[in-house]
Amino acid sequence: MNAAATAAWLVAGGLAGLRWLRVAQAEHYLPGAATRFSYRWWWGSGPENRLFVIAAKIGAVPAYLDYPVGALTGAAALAAGPIGLGLKGRTSRLAWTRRMRTLAAVWVALEAAVVGVGAVAGWTLGAAALAALLAPVLVDVACWMTAPLERRLAGKWVTQAADKLARAHPTVVAITGSYGKTTTKAYVAHLVAPSRSVVATPRSFNNRAGLARSVNEHFAPGTEVFVAEMGTYGPGEIAEMCAWVAPAVAVITAIGPVHLERMGSEDRIVTAKAEILETAGTVVLNVDDPRLAALADTAAAQGKKVYRCSAGGVVADVVADVVVLDEGAQRVVVVAGERVAVIDRDDAMAPTNIACAVAAALGVGIDLDVIARALPTLPTPDHRLAARPHQATGATLLDDTFNSNPAGAARALSALAQAAPEGRKVVVTPGMVELGHRQHEENAAFAMAAVRMGAEVVVVGRTNRRALVDGVTRAGGRAVLVDDRDAGVRWVGQHVGPGDAVLFENDLPDTYP
């Protein structure tokens, strides 16, 4: 009987381990993520999961006391939940990569150690229950233990990439920012391409390993310009990448409360992003943010070539080198006081991203007239506020599912207003994450703004449900609640028609409740 209960807890622990390993993979193997997400899932994703976790914890008590009967129900409750977090996943599937196999092996060893110590002490059933309940913590411990090994292994690829860059010595444009990085990168590559052979890091590959992989797989010898996107979760990461990528032109697009959960404060974000400026001779900064304007002054004092970029009129005492004015459907590009191009497009392109891209291209040495000719055909990256008609309903769909910052979300709302001046407006969103202590407030503010401009809000999932409903209610509206994105899409199919517009704002992997 005891053996059966022990086996049940071991199975429950194994299933829990699979779930939290998948979460760890989706969260880039960051130690702490599995535990944080387990708390979010068990306690913050609805009453049924709270019931399950309480049942599991109560059921573990007889196990600790070596009573097998009650212990079985606890194991069953743990094995069943959390409801909604699948074992394999749909959008964010568990991939058995080499790194995942290593992590899983270390995790199994940790579980076995807990159970083994218990067995030696004559407390097998209790230890099995404890190990099962500790599964997310042990996944985090495994992440922490394997981190140095993974760094060493990645080092080999970094060395290869660094050699390749050193041989070709291209002009490197490095781009960071809380948001706008990927879009600005695509713009820079587009503006440089007519005159120079250029390679940009694909998609959103922007950490050390992603950058090394981009260079190893995509960088052709003889390439003249390399555009590298750099993201950061903490101090030192960008400095480390700059050490082997050696940017000539460094760009900071914007500072905002993105990844606040990991970074702590916006000031720490500024400090970490500013590392990109240290070795570059030319720097491009969005001076509409006073903190970046201050960095521009510092860089100028150091004798660097500085391009100040602005959307115009925000910071009165700063003279910007590149200004992009938002005039209705048009973006007017002004360089050194001269209007050089007009972009006549109705997609909601952020003016400062365009300004930063123009400045970076100038920094590389591209002729202004070549840049001006290329500006009207700037690309619209996928899932970043791309508009298209919806076949089934005739409504306009705005896909902004790659955006996860408040400034971009606000711009998306104004695009929604323009897309359906008369018709029904709908926002489908799970809200934004990683905003730390501001997450509730920012999501509520977004929902309020949506309702105030006349949109209905379809709240996807449970991660930000309370905050979004709070915002909708405060603005006097009523929220539609759906369990996942597919349900949101179905709701849209039944409720909109020609002349209407639907904004899909942000998307979360299914490792989020």
């Binding site: 391409a193 007519p194 005159s195 120079r196 052979s197 995509h218 052709a220 003249e224 002729d367």
Partner: protein
């Protein structure tokens, strides 16, 4: 028993077309019972052994799934080397490489030199033949010096002085085999501005008079088992009113050059056809032709001019061999025969008999 290998791709603007040619060659060899190893040269210049049954779409994002990394090693025992069990090296056994790498280092002598030094037999031009074929300026100079008819060509750069002929000009990359980067301009300052700003002209550019009235005529030439010419082709333009036969005309929306619209054989007078053949044979000799090449002419109804030589033409010009018909498998078999029977490199130390060394005295005395 080592089998043939087909090399395709490469860090060249013609990477994509080259993948199409390579996959066609792999399939055609399989169809005649000579399964081939597929060697993919990536846009980033890394080599991979890939599954011969892959489709073109598998290469869109870079090396396809399941590609295994190999290196090209020169020196004794050289060749393509992969990694085997327990980290040991595993040589890829190859009879000869069918070179399908269009443009760039696959067609300019770079790959040929590496294969020579690695001791790997290959089809197509040797180092010298590849180099002159891909250098439009040098090729035109050699053709003119041989007394064959061709357009005058001039080197173009941002500050080059005007040539001895009048505009409008057709501006081309000096090195490159496709239509990428070719533009028609009205005057010399525009050509200079283009040389300064166009990414395609950064490694060198040339200009020649633009002949709006001239059509293209193409003929394929092969050197083995004996010098042989294909039917003469007149390619047709699909993009109405465009001044030149563009990249899209040739490659987009089909299986490459093989499906582009054309008149084959071209409807031209017999004496012009005979002249095409005479000139083509002379050029084959001039450019040390090896393998199968395509020679392009301009013809305006009266005047016949040599334009360009493609030493590794799209689809290996297989579609031009219609009279008498030459199946692609047969063409490839002959190319492989030539690769293994006619050495591509001839190094000679004749004359370096040591007499200069014996009489030299000390090196220091020469420096003093």
């Amino acid at each position: 028993m080592p089998q043939p290998a087909v090399a395709f791709g490469g860090p060249s603007p013609e990477h994509d077309v080259s993948v199409l040619t390579g996959l066609q060659a792999v399939r055609a060899l399989a169809a005649i019972g000579r399964p081939a190893t597929a060697l993919y040269w990536s846009r980033s210049a890394d080599w991979f052994e890939v599954d011969p049954d892959l489709e073109a779409g598998d290469f869109v994002e870079g090396p396809p799934k399941g590609a295994s990394s190999v290196r090209l090693v020169t020196g004794p025992g050289g060749g393509f080397v992969g990694s085997g069990r327990l980290g040991r090296e595993r040589p890829v056994e190859i009879e000869a490489v069918v070179n399908c790498c269009h443009g760039g280092p696959g067609e300019d002598g770079t790959l040929q030199a590496a294969l020579d030094l690695a001791g790997v037999a290959y089809t197509g031009p040797n180092v010298a033949g590849a180099a002159i074929g891909l250098d439009k300026l040098a090729f035109a100079g050699a053709v003119a010096a041989a007394g064959l008819p061709t357009l005058p060509r001039a080197a173009l750069s941002a500050d080059a002085s005007p040539p001895g002929f009048a505009g409008p000009y057709i501006v081309k990359p000096r090195f490159g085999g496709s239509s990428i980067g070719i533009e028609v301009v009205q005057d010399w300052p525009t050509a200079q501005a283009l040389a300064r700003t166009s990414v395609h002209l950064r490694r060198g550019a040339m200009a020649e008079p633009y002949r709006a009235d001239a059509d293209d005529l193409n003929v394929a030439i092969r050197s083995h088992p004996s010098l042989e010419l294909s039917a003469i082709e007149r390619p047709l333009r699909t993009t109405g009113g465009a001044p030149i036969l563009g990249y899209a005309d040739k490659y987009v929306g089909g299986e490459g050059m093989a499906s582009a619209p054309r008149q084959l054989p071209a409807d031209i007078p017999d004496d012009v056809a005979a002249e095409v053949r005479r000139i083509a044979s002379a050029v084959a000799d001039l450019a040390s032709l090896r393998g199968v090449a395509r020679l392009d002419f301009l013809y305006d109804g009266t005047e016949l001019l040599v334009n360009e030589l493609n030493t590794i033409p799209g689809s290996l010009a297989r579609y031009l061999w219609v009279d008498p018909p030459l199946p692609f498998g047969r063409l490839l078999t002959d190319l492989l025969d030539e690769a293994t029977s006619r050495p591509s490199a001839h190094y000679s130390s004749a004359g370096a008999d040591g007499s200069a060394l014996r009489s030299a005295g000390s090196i220091a005395s020469k420096l003093g």
